[in-house]
Structure formats: C-alpha cells, structure tokens
C-alpha cells in the first residue's frame, strides 16, 4: 500500500493509504483527527472545511495523493496557537455561537479564510462577503455566526 506524507497541524505525518482515498477519511479514519466532519462528501455542506497552506478547502473532495509532502493541512485542532485561541474561536465563544456544534469547526475555518481573502483583496468583511460562505448550519446559528465573524475579523 502506498505511503502518504504531508504536514498536519504543524507535524509531519506519514500514513499508509490508497492514493484515491479522499483526504477527509485519511485524517478522520486513519489519523483519528476528527474535527473536520462529514456532512455530504461532495463539497456541498462544507462541514469538513480546513486549510491547505492557509486557504480554505474541503478534504472530502481531494485525493490524498494530490497532497504534497510539504503541503500544510490545518484542521480546527491546529487553528489555536497552543493554548491561545485564534481570535475567531474566541469570537465564537464570546457570542455563544454553537448549538449542536457539528458544523462549527468548518464554519470557523471558513470564516478565518474568508477574512484573510477579504484582506488580501482589499474588501470589507461585510454582509456580502459573509454571504459568500456556503457552510450549512442546520441548527440555524447563522445570525450569531455573522456577528462573530465581524468581531473576530476586527481582532485578526
């Protein structure tokens, strides 16, 4: 079986997996890192949103063989700086955003990437920018998510 190597949350990981297995399952089922959730498997619900080299992506839709040895994959578990939470995580706590919490790791990772994208493009993190975020929350926490993104962006 092929060996797959990449950087996961700051550490080099090596794992045996078939080339075509999607990264989500390598992360969850083989490496036991379960922050990114399955919600659809076809890049629609965005519950598995994580970062690759700092940009948002959905590991349910990437074959593990397409991840390079030095590609940095960051899941929600790797967002904080040790014990120090990322400002977006803190904003989520301050506004008591989550209900069941299943989609929230993906929501936070999407929010961080959207703010970075807006900054890079010189755009405001406004309602229009937030409405580009496709992550579904079936508990319906959207309104607190909007508040938290704006507050988190101010601290980023």
């Amino acid at each position: 079986m092929p060996t797959q190597t990449f950087m996961l949350n700051g550490e080099r990981v090596t794992v045996e997996a078939e080339d075509g297995v999607r990264l989500l399952w390598v992360i969850r089922d083989l490496l036991g890192v379960t922050g990114p959730k399955y919600g659809c498997g076809i890049n629609v619900c965005k519950a598995c949103t994580s970062h690759i080299n700092g940009k948002a992506f959905n590991p349910c839709s990437v074959q593990v063989c397409d991840i390079g040895d030095d590609d940095e994959v960051t899941t929600i578990e790797g967002l904080a700086d040790g014990e120090k939470l990322h400002p977006m995580q803190q904003a989520w706590i301050d506004r008591d955003v989550p209900q069941c919490g299943y989609c929230q790791p993906g929501q936070i990772m999407a929010a961080v990437a959207k703010v970075r994208q807006c900054r890079a493009e010189g755009r405001d993190v406004d309602d229009d920018a937030i409405e580009e975020i496709r992550n579904i929350c079936r508990c319906g926490t959207y309104n607190r998510i909007r508040e938290a993104i704006k507050a988190g962006a101010d601290k980023m």
């Binding site: 078939e18 959730k37 498997g41 349910c60 839709s61 397409d66 578990e77 069941c100 989609c103 936070i108």
Partner: protein, 775 residues
C-alpha cells in the same frame, strides 16, 4: 397587571411548598427526588374584548408537556445527584442533548440550588435505564419542564445535607452556615469544601426527607445569560459525536440502499469481487440493503458504489407527490358549518414533504457479542431502542447497553434510532464491531421526513365578529411508534390504529387556537402511507399555525381591520397580547414599506408559551433573482422581530439561540425547502438539492425579545420559534406580492435548480477537484 398573572397568584398556595427528597445509602452523598407538586399554570383568562369566547381548548389547561410529565411521575424519584470527593457534583441526565443546550441549563439548575458555579456541576447523558420507564424521552420540548423540579429537589436536599454535615464538623448552628462556590462557610470565617463533606454527609440507609426549595427572588444563576458549557470543546474540535468515538475495531460501515424508498435487497451479483476491493473487510446482505465494512468510510462508499444489487419494490413504489396528495384530499374530514349562509372564508393549504435530516447523518456504533451488545449513538428514546435492539438480536434487554452520545442536531429525527438498529444487525452479521453511518444521500432520500399534509379552514364572519373557525388537518401518518420512550407505549402505538390514536392525542394536546373565534374546532386525520416519518421541530404546529394565521389575515381583511389590531382584539389572553405588542412596537408594525416589500405577522401558543413574529420580506425582482451558485434565493426575509413569553427562563442566551434556529427553520419551510416524491423515491440527495436556510437567506436583521409575565415554571423552548415565524413569512409574502399562497414552500412547483443525482449507485462519487476551489 395582566389578568393571567393575577389568576396564577390567586391560585398559589400560601407559604413555601415542601417537597420530598430521598437520601440514598452510598459511601458518598447521593440524593434523589420525586415529583409531588401540582400544576401552577392557570387556564385561559376570559377575554375582555367583544369577540365570542370559544370554549377552553385542551392545550390551554392540559397539554403535551403535562401528559409527558404525568407519565413520568411514578419514576421521577430515580433522578439522582451525587457529591463527589473532589468537591464536584455529578448528575446523569436521562435526556438527549443534540445542541439544544439542556446539559448547560441542567448545570445551571443544580448550581443555583447548591450555591455552586455552573462549571462545578458535571452533567452527562445517562445510558438507557429501563427502570425509568417513561422518564427517558427527549421530545415535545419537554425536557426543562419535566425535569426542573425533581432536579431542584434533589439538589436542595444535597445542599441541606452538606450544611448539616458541616454544622456537625464545625460545631456551629446550621443557620449560621452558607454554601458558595462549593465551600460551606461559617459566620466565623471557617470553611469546608464540599469534597470533604461528601463522605460525612452520606447516608447509611435510604431515607425520605422533606426539603424546601430556594425562592425565586434569591436566584442568582437561573435567568442569567450563560454560554453553553461545551463551547470551548466545540470551537477547538474536541467535542465528540458518535462518528468521532474511537471504539476498538469498530470500522466504518455503510449500507448500499435501494432506489425505491424502503426497497429491500433481492440478491447481489458481485459480493465476492466487492469483498476484494481495497480496504474492504466485510460485505453482507442485511434487511435494509447490502452492508460494507471497510478501513475508511471512503472505501466503504467506493464498495457500495461497485455493488450490483437487484431490489424488491419499496413501500411507496410508483407513487409521487400528486398521488399522495390525492389520497390526502380523499381523507379530508367534512366541515360542519355550511358555507355561504353568512360571509365565509374558505381556504385550503398544502404542505409538501420536508426532510428532518440533521447535519450529522444517522450514525451509531455497535459491538454485538454472542451474549451481549454495546451500542453508542445519539438517541432520544434509548429505552425503546434498547428493547428493539434486544429483540432484534434475541438477547434479554439487560444484556444490551445503550450509551447516549451527544447528537449533531436532531429536530425530531433522533426520536428514532434507525442507525442503531442497523448497526446492531450489521455487527451481528459480521461478528465484528461496526461504526455505521448513513451517507448524506441516504439520510436525505431514505431518512425520516415531515409528512405531507393539507389544512382546510372554513371561517364564518359577521361584520364585527368571527362566528366559527373550523380547521381540518389531514396528514400522511406521523410515526409515533417510539411511544413515550419505552417498550409499553411503543407497543401500544404499534397496535392496529394505535398510532392514529397517539397522533390524535398529540394533536389534541398541542394545537390551540390563540383567538376567540366562536365555535372553534380542529380535527386531525392521518393516512398511513408507509413513509418514514417523524416530527420535525414540531409535529403539526408550523403547518396548522400557518394555515390559521394566513386565514386570520383574510378575516381581518374581510372585516376591514388592520391585521395587528384584529389579532389584538381577538386574542384569548393577555400573554398573547403581550408578545404581539412587543413585536409590533419593536418591529415598527405599519411603517411605510417600498412596493414589493411588506410586513407580516404570526402568533402561536404551545408548550406553556406564547410567541409572535413580525417579518419583513423583500419580493422585488432584483432580490428574488439574485444569482447564487447552486443556491436558491427567491424572496428574502430582511428582518425578523420575534417575541416569546416562555414562562420562567432558565438561560436567556440559550432560549434566544433556540428561537434563532426556529426562525431560520420557519423561513425555510415557507420559502425554500421541501422534498419531491417521484416514482417511489425522494429526489433530493444532498444540501445542494434540499434548500435549508443559508447565509444568503437568513435575515440580516434579527431581534428576539423575551417577555416575562412572571410565571413560576419553565415552558418548552426547543420548537417554539418555528410556527409563528413560518406564519409571519407567509403573511408578509402574501402582502408583498398581493396573492395568498396555498402551497408551502412556495417554490415547490418551480423547475429543479439542479440535476437530480442518480439512484444507482445510491451514493454520488466524491469529487477530486477540491484544490481548485480554495479561498
């Protein structure tokens, strides 16, 4: 002062009521409680307005919450609180938390009574405990209402016992001691931590003790906003759902299902080939399909896609939306008041099938051995599950351990335990532990749905009053075979006509008309169509309420009245007028709106609470036709002002969260989300087909108002946000476009904005181009 409040005060007994608690023989302090108190809610107040009063309706004096609580009375004394040697207090809540925040509110209730900080109370979810009989169902928005007092009684007794033990140790009169933050402190400044008292306060025998509860004026925790106590775990990815649990050898398992709804396997042509696929460990035919166990879920899905299976027809083979609607129409019960003698409003509404999929698909872990089984999953009726699994496996019920895991949303879906049953069957078939998860396509197409239903309304009016209001609700059968969460009522619901009786009881106990509409009747009829159904953040209310509130706007128009003034005048209680006034004032009812935009109102009364919503909607073409990739836009709700009088509020921040979720549900029900039945199956296979509210649909402005009318007891919250919002959206839409909708959601007959996904194989392939869509 509102009338109802005076009525409650008048009924309240003199002095502080006493309750009975129990000391349980144990090495450390263990207390238990039973329910001995009476209902404090009064019936409806008489209306002072001119409308013709309707007779009292069952939900106003005895509703589903009362029925659930009364069914629990004999066993509520088995609720136990333990004081640990490390000073913490623990309690295993016999309920299921799927995000509604009941773990947090339970921590608050115990912390309040014992003078602890919220984080000093450890609340876990109890395993299935068959001895609890009827006391382990999470549904009907009943949790806080049914557990509030027993938990307080136990906590108060624990507190009393700790004080007594401290009094002995400190040689101080108990009245000079206070408990705060887990310390008992004397007036002399000496203190002893709870942990040191856990042993001395323990009882050597079981004993009944009288306790008094903390009076409401002294509350410092209840009623104060509190964050969910698992929020840190959630934002760091540490919170574990069933699929995240690492149970030894419980490998990913997925079932290949039929194209028809509830189709079953005849035979599989290539089992041997599929067993040799990469990562696959086991493949077996089971009752609902062909089960595959593999090293990863991805490989199990690949194997499901490769299977060649022939299928028997499903339970609704060949049926579609129209054929089901025809059956419903045929089953509609007649209206009693003839039309046309006086002025009549006659309306008929259709509510299409809706999915109650949560974001976490049906998931369960099972480890079945020859003589025992262990199951993990999010289950709201774990005793019923334990009984059903034991029966399936041919084991005694006590050989099956059912662990209740926090769920990733429920909305009614997890009243059932479909995944747990299948996991048990698969584990037995493989002789190995399994972690079984439904694919999203299965969860959407084969999972439980909110039944299609119709609501006919006929109202007769004179020039200033409503003489009669009849509502005939006809629904595809709602599955209540979970009973009240255990084997006895579940069996009763499964008996011939048992489910209809159960459904009618639930309907009768939950549906109330908030207005004095003269002769007012509501009748339910259900047609068994062999669909997989369950409630969905309410069973009947959003549909029944929407029909009633749309007709209420029509009645107002008929009488030439403003919709708000009309509702105010006909409201049956001051509590209803209270929430209505709150939204009208804060939402600026009647302000001038641009053409193509409008306001709408909705009112609802259920679960000991009353709610009102004022919605503003934008139906202008530039808004309706916004283009969003793989999204449905349509009319946009731009602003929601929502008020709830929920009785005593334990956690206002949590209550607001529940309302926010309900509001987003209500918007979806009216504008965007439904399932389409075609040729014996549901078309929608994922979130790009089924349009639950998204960021681009949610209201940019949202204002939730908690109205306090001084009630002593909490009502229900989990579902209370949906109905009034749905109704208000429908009314706002009707006013904006000048046409009253009769089908919901309003876009159900639009062409699909997507290409339906194939039925065979049943799970779409995961894309490989994810790196082209980064941002």
């Amino acid at each position: 002062m509102p009338q109802h409040r005076m009525a409650e005060r008048a009924k309240a007994p003199v002095g502080r009521r006493k309750f009975l608690g129990y000391l349980i023989a144990a090495p450390t302090l263990v207390v238990a409680a039973e329910l001995t108190r009476q209902e404090v809610f009064g019936g409806p107040s008489a209306s002072a307005a001119t409308p013709i009063p309707s007779a009292p309706q069952p939900p106003e004096v005895y509703d589903l919450l009362d029925a659930l609580r009364d069914s629990m009375r004999p066993t509520a004394n088995l609720i136990r609180i333990e004081v640990n040697r490390d000073g913490t207090v623990s309690f295993a809540l016999p309920r299921s938390d799927n995000g509604q925040g009941i773990i947090t509110s339970t921590q608050m209730i115990i912390a309040e009574e014992m003078g602890l900080d919220v984080d000093q109370v450890r609340v876990t979810l109890a395993d299935a405990r068959p001895e609890l009989l009827l006391n382990q169902i999470t549904g009907g928005s009943s949790t806080t209402f049914t557990t509030y007092t027993p938990i307080r009684v136990a906590a108060a007794l624990a507190q009393m016992r700790l004080l007594e033990a401290a009094s002995q140790l400190l040689q101080q009169d108990v009245r000079t001691l206070t408990a705060r933050k887990g310390l008992i402190t004397s007036t002399l400044g000496k203190s002893i931590p709870f942990g040191d008292l856990a042993g001395p306060a323990a009882s050597a025998v079981d004993k009944q003790v009288e306790v008094t509860l903390k009076p409401r004026e002294k509350f410092t925790v209840i009623g104060k906003p509190q964050n969910k106590t698992d929020v840190l775990d959630i934002v760091t990815g540490r919170k574990q759902f069933a699929a995240d649990l690492q149970i030894p050898d419980a490998l990913p398992t997925v079932i290949c299902r039929a194209p028809d709804l509830n189709g079953t396997p005849r035979k599989a042509a290539n089992l041997a080939d599929v067993r040799r696929m990469p990562g696959v460990t086991d493949v077996e035919i089971v009752s609902t399909g062909v089960a595959v166990r593999a090293r990863t879920f991805g490989q199990a899905i690949d194997a499901v896609r490769a299977l060649e299976v022939s299928w028997k027809d499903g339970t609704v083979h060949g049926e579609d939306d129209e054929s089901v609607l025809k059956k419903l129409k045929a089953a509609e019960l007649p209206l009693a008041v003839p039309a046309g003698i006086v002025a009549t409003v006659d309306s008929s509404f259709t509510f299409w099938f809706k999915s109650n999929s949560s974001l976490e698909p049906n998931t369960a872990i099972a480890d079945v051995r020859r003589d025992r089984a262990e199951i993990w999953g999010p289950m709201k009726t774990p005793i019923t599950a334990q009984n059903a699994i034991a029966k399936l496996l041919g084991l005694p019920q006590n050989a099956v351990t059912v662990h209740v895991v926090q769920g990733g949303g429920s909305f009614g879906r997890k009243l059932f335990f479909d995944a747990a049953l299948e996991a048990a069957e698969c584990s037995k078939a493989f002789g190995k532990p399994v972690k079984l998860m439904w694919s999203r396509a299965d969860d959407s197409r084969q999972g439980r749905v909110h039944p299609m239903c119709t609501s006919r309304v006929r109202a007769t009016v004179t020039k200033d009053s409503v003489l009669s209001f009849e509502q005939r609700h006809t629904s595809v059968s709602t599955d209540f075979t979970h009973g009240l969460g255990e084997a006895i009522t579940a069996a009763a619901a499964k008996a011939p006509l048992g489910n209809l009786g159960f459904a009618e009881t639930v309907f009768e106990l939950t549906q109330a008309n908030p207005y004095d509409y003269g002769v007012s009747t509501r009748v339910l009829n259900e047609v068994d169509m062999r669909f997989n159904t369950s409630s969905m953040r309410n069973v009947y209310s959003p549909d029944v309420t929407t029909a009633r509130e749309v007709v209420t706007d029509q009645l107002a128009a008929k009488l030439g009245a403003d919709p708000y003034e009309f509702r105010r005048k006909f409201a049956r209680s001051d509590r209803i007028r209270g929430v209505l006034d709150a939204v009208a004032k804060n939402g600026r009812w009647g302000r001038s709106m641009k053409k193509g935009t409008a306001q709408g109102l909705g009112v609802h009364h259920e679960y000991k609470g009353v709610t009102a919503a004022l919605v503003e909607i934008d139906c202008r073409p530039e808004t309706v036709n916004r283009a969003i990739y793989e999204g449905v836009t349509g009319p946009r709700v731009t602003r929601v002002t929502f008020a709830i009088d929920a009785g005593l509020v334990i956690n206002p921040r949590g209550l607001e969260a529940q309302m926010m979720g309900g509001i987003n549900d209500g918007i979806a029900l009216i504008l965007t989300s439904s399932l389409h039945l075609t040729d014996g199956h549901f078309v929608e296979a994922s979130w790009d087909n089924y349009f639950y509210t998204r960021q681009w649909n949610t209201p940019p402005e949202l204002n939730i108002i908690l109205v306090d009318s001084g009630a002593d007891e909490p009502g229900g919250a989990g579902e209370a946000g949906v109905a009034a919002t749905a109704a208000a959206v429908a009314n706002a839409y009707a006013r904006a476009v000048g046409k009253v909708p009769t089908e919901f959601p309003i876009n159900h007959r639009d062409p699909f904005p997507f290409t339906p996904k194939p039925l065979v194989p049943p799970i779409p392939e995961s894309p490989t181009d994810g790196l082209e869509h980064t941002y």
